[in-house]
Amino acid sequence: MKAAAFRYHRATSLDDALAVMADDDEEVRALAGGQSLVPLMAMRLSRPEVLVDLNGVDALAGVALDGGHLRIGAMTRQRDVERSPLVAEHLPLLRTAIGHIGHVTIRHRGTIGGSVAHADPAAELPAAVVALGAEMVLASTGGTRVVPAEEFFDSYLVTAVEPGELLVEVRFPLGAVPARHGMAEFTRRAGDFAVAGAIVLADVAADLTVRRARVVPMAVDPAPRRSARAEELLVGRALDDGVIREVAAAVAAGCGPVDDIHGSAAYRRDLVAEMTRRALARLRQGAGE
């Protein structure tokens, strides 16, 4: 299992990286943590001609509070996001979600930007950034643009990132989404990608009335998206077991899972209902995960 030949470029700055990315005669790819790209190259499912290694671009890594946003550089390691006190304070869901990614050794090298740009529909971070209403900051030699998470993911491994562009930052607006979270996912073995999962955010009053809600099922659609029907069913109602069951059923009915080696579509539909139920029960307990 050996990757096809490529030219290696260790970027020294963002401008340097973007200049090489702009070459449209060759297939150029960014190398972040390599935890998805290197296996794909080893299996020759991906054969870039040029690899731009972003690991030396320090300016792309870091977590910072900036007015109404928490800004996380694309090259920030998943493990550093998981351990960031700012993330623990403002975005506890991110910490819960990253805890489900592979193993510590994978998270040491894997980056937030790599996971988001890779856009595996079973991955935790793409679903989490949709739930959190994040904005993706994309840069190219032509300038920068901002794409909301809900418009970023097109389908399986396909995003709004255009050739020549890099994801440079994931920006989370604070206070724009409900604060409490619940998450549940089912995996065959610890650290595997989810067969199905669910992320919920909600503001819940003392009498359990739901004020705002965001529901994102995982691994049951070609790209992560909110379940509008589930959210409608929640808002204005008390989060009791009956409502939770109704919402779980709505998520299952509204998603489009496919058969694969990990499970049939029907099995995934059942599973996503149960994961939604668990995520909401955790949210109600204030447990997150």
């Binding site: 030949a5 030219r7 260790r10 190398l31 050794t105 040491h108």
Partner: protein, 164 residues
């Protein structure tokens, strides 16, 4: 197609500066084995799922089959060969031997590197914590039980010493 130009890489491997040339597409695992003669880096799956190739890269564990050799330029690398102090085995190596935590030994370097990092973090270790920490490493022989015992034994010995 861009040609296969040789790249010169210079890294510290187990405390010694090593300079070698390689192709860009060579994995760090292959380069360590072939160019640096550290054959304790084992390759099981070559795509990131078994953990046998785990090394310490700039202070933290990493899978060396998921890195290309040129990425190691300037890096500080420790492999299983770097655990022992001369002829004296690392306490984890002693414990693996005493607790029969290996049979064929193919997976052992990866387990030792991950266990070493876990112990260095210094938190309290329970069986559950140890099992979670080694969950990314695959062993086809032992059934894991003795690996968990060996790691817990070292942790217990350490906390015993701390209480003295």
């Amino acid at each position: 197609m861009s040609g296969e130009t040789a790249i010169t890489v210079s890294a510290t491997v187990n405390g010694r500066r090593q300079t070698f040339t390689c192709e860009a597409r060579e994995t760090l695992a292959d380069a360590l084995r072939r160019r640096c003669q550290v054959r304790g880096v084992h390759l099981g799956c070559e795509h990131g799922v078994c953990g046998a190739c785990t090394i310490r890269f700039d202070g933290v564990t990493a899978r060396s089959c998921l890195m290309f050799a040129p990425q190691a330029d300037g890096a500080e690398i420790v492999t299983v060969e770097g655990l022992a102090d001369g002829d004296e085995l690392h306490p984890l190596q002693e414990a693996f031997s005493r607790h029969h935590a290996l049979q064929c030994g193919f997976c052992t370097p990866g387990f030792l590197m991950v266990a070493q990092e876990l112990l260095a973090e210094g938190g309290p270790l329970t069986e559950e914590v140890v099992r979670e920490a080694i969950s990314g490493n695959i062993c086809r022989c032992t059934g894991y039980h003795n690996i968990v015992e060996a790691i817990l034994a070292v942790a217990d010995a350490r906390s015993g010493e701390a209480e003295k």
